[in-house]
Every structure is written in C-alpha cells, then in structure tokens.
C-alpha cells in the first residue's frame, strides 16, 4: 500500500515535469523520475522479505527475493541511461542552433 502511494506520487511528479515544465532539461529529469518510480515500485513490490538472490557456499537459504523483476529492472535502467544521453545530446544540438532550451520559445518559431 505504502509503496503504491510513493510510486504514484513520484510517477505523477515526473509526468508533471514532463508535460508542464518548459525547460527541456527539466523534461528529461521528469522522464528520469518516471522511470525511477516504476523501477522502485517493481523492486519494492517484489520484495517478499527474503534474502538477496545469491546463493552462499555451504548454506541453504530457503527464501529468496524474486530475481526476475530485478533482472528486468536492470535492463530498464541501462536503457533509460542511454536514452537520457541521446536526449541530452539532441538538446545540446538544438541549443547550438537556436540558443535556447525553453520549449515555449522553440514552438513558436516555425510550425
């Protein structure tokens, strides 16, 4: 319950920054927050009070946390990082052409 609330707050905060902020860098930050919220929720939800999913030599552990969502999250984090880098690269290029990163000033130029 508690984690759901945090997830939704963070997700909506990120979504708000994505659609309402005019600064492009803030939009990327919002996107990052959205992704981080989803990943946090996945990890928190799959936590069933077990151990870290690594066997120890000579020890039998009966209860592990689910390793599959963690693996999926790991993939998601790496993809998120590379997309953020690509977005920032495009913003740098755009800034070079127009000298601004304000979305409102960019939209009005030619439509």
């Amino acid at each position: 319950m508690f984690n759901n609330l945090i997830f939704i707050i963070l997700f909506m905060l990120g979504f708000y920054a994505l659609i309402m902020k005019t600064n492009l860098i803030k939009n990327v930050i919002g996107l990052n927050l959205m992704e981080a919220a989803v990943f946090f929720w996945v990890i928190a939800f799959s936590d069933i009070g077990g151990e870290v999913a690594i066997h120890k030599m000579g020890e039998e552990v009966t209860k592990f946390n689910d390793p599959v969502p963690q693996a999926l999250t790991l993939t998601g984090i790496v993809i998120g990082a590379s997309t953020a880098a690509l977005l920032l690269t495009l913003i740098i290029e755009l800034n070079k052409f127009s000298g601004t990163i304000d979305r409102d000033q960019l939209e009005g130029l030619n439509d």
Partner: protein, 239 residues
C-alpha cells in the same frame, strides 16, 4: 493568468488519474513469489542449471542472454547515434585540470578503482554486480580523468579508435560465444558445458564470466565514448 489556469487544470487531471491508479493498484494481490511461476523454478534449479551463485546474473546472461545481447546492441546504437549527431572535426584542447594534490591523490587511487571495476566484472556470477555495473565503473574512471587531469589526458592515452576497438571487441566476444553455443550445444547463446568448473570458483558457471568480461568492456568503452563526444565542444572555450 491563463498559464495559472492551465497549471491548475493539469494538476487536477493528474490528481484524478493518480487517484484512479491508486485505487487500481491497491487491488493488486499481495505478491507471494508466485509459487508455480518462473521465480520459484529459478530459485530451485538456477544453481544446477547455470552454476552461477548469483541468480540475477544467471537470469541476465544465461536464461535471458538474448535480452542482454539486445541491450548491449541498444548501447551500441546509442553510441553510434550520438557520435553521428555530435560529430565535430574539432580536436580536444585540454583544460589544465585540478590542483597538483588532487592529481597525485587520484594517481594513487586510480588503480584501486580500476581493480574494483574488474572485480565487479569478473565476480559477476559470485557476488552482486556484473558486466554492466563494472563497465560503468570503468567508464567512470575515464570521466574522472577528464575532470582531474584535463580533458586531453585520457584522449591521448586511449584515443576514440582504441575505445571503439574495445567496444566492438566486447560485442564480438558476446556474439562469438553465442555462435559457439550453436556449434557446441545446439542453440544460440547456450551456456557452454565444457567450461563448467566447481561451483563457487572464479572460473566457473560456463560461459557467464566470459560474457561478463565482453559486456564490461563494451559498456565501459561505449559510455566513455558518449561522455567524450558530449564534452567535445567545451574544449575550445577552456583555452
């Protein structure tokens, strides 16, 4: 005024959506580790199948190795795209970097950071970590160099060509292990049985350590290339 109205309206809509989502998510049944699902299977027989103590590594580089291959292809494509977008002819001219003390201190520390990176890469099947995390640590060394010693230092030591070589070398290691899986075990990216050793030792778990090393070099070199293409323009104004 108009903007304020818009802001309020969006906020109201978002709150409504959030409330609806919360209602829905609170109906989720408590997650019980899926007694019949995949995770139960992996926890039971993951060690026997792959020989990797770290089950997440077992999932990433053995059960779902194809996904990891796709993921490193995504990084490869992102690097290629960023270099395409930002390609400038300008050679980097260095800033002078930080003070002498910082340089010395980092000179002493760097081998340990690198050691940690290699440790994370090679022990991916025994302890937390693996190719991706270790690769990023290696890339971080390159980033620290550019901050502390000035941007040309790293560039002169390891030129972009060298980094590209590392990157493709890692990718080809991965692909080669996949093809070896076809030849020896009969399926793409199958774990190579003849490499298996006693569980818990450094060189065990079939081809997982080798895939880890390949991915580590690939990710490290790729992210370093991304960082260096992104800072290239700042070089001219440093001088």
């Amino acid at each position: 005024m108009n903007k304020l109205m818009k802001k309020i309206m969006i906020s109201v809509v978002l709150t409504g959506v959030a409330f609806a989502l919360y209602q829905n998510f609170s109906l989720m049944p408590e997650y019980q580790g899926l007694n019949e699902g995949l995770s139960n299977y992996i926890i039971k027989s993951g060690l026997n199948d792959t020989g990797s103590l770290n089950l997440i590594t077992a999932v990433l580089y053995d059960y779902r190795a194809f996904d990891s291959l796709g993921e490193s292809t995504v990084i490869f494509g992102a690097v290629s795209g960023i270099v395409l977008i930002l390609s400038r002819k300008m050679l980097p001219v260095s800033s002078k970097g930080l003070s002498f003390i910082v340089k010395r201190a980092l000179g002493i520390m760097t081998p340990f950071i690198a050691l940690f990176g290699f440790y994370v890469i090679t022990h991916g099947h025994l302890t937390p970590g693996g190719g991706f995390q270790g690769g990023v640590i290696l890339a971080a060394i390159s980033i620290i160099f550019s901050i502390v010693y000035g941007s040309a230092f790293d560039y002169r030591r390891y030129s972009p060509q060298t980094k590209t070589l590392f990157e493709t070398g890692g990718a080809l290691t991965f692909l080669g292990l996949g093809l070896a899986g076809i030849l020896m075990e009969g399926a793409f990216l199958q774990n190579l049985g003849f490499l298996t050793a006693e569980t818990g030792t450094l060189i065990s778990a079939g081809s997982i350590p080798y895939i880890n090393i390949g991915v580590g070099f690939k990710v490290g070199a790729g992210l370093a290339i991304i960082f260096y293409s992104m800072i290239q323009k700042t070089f001219e104004e440093d001088f």
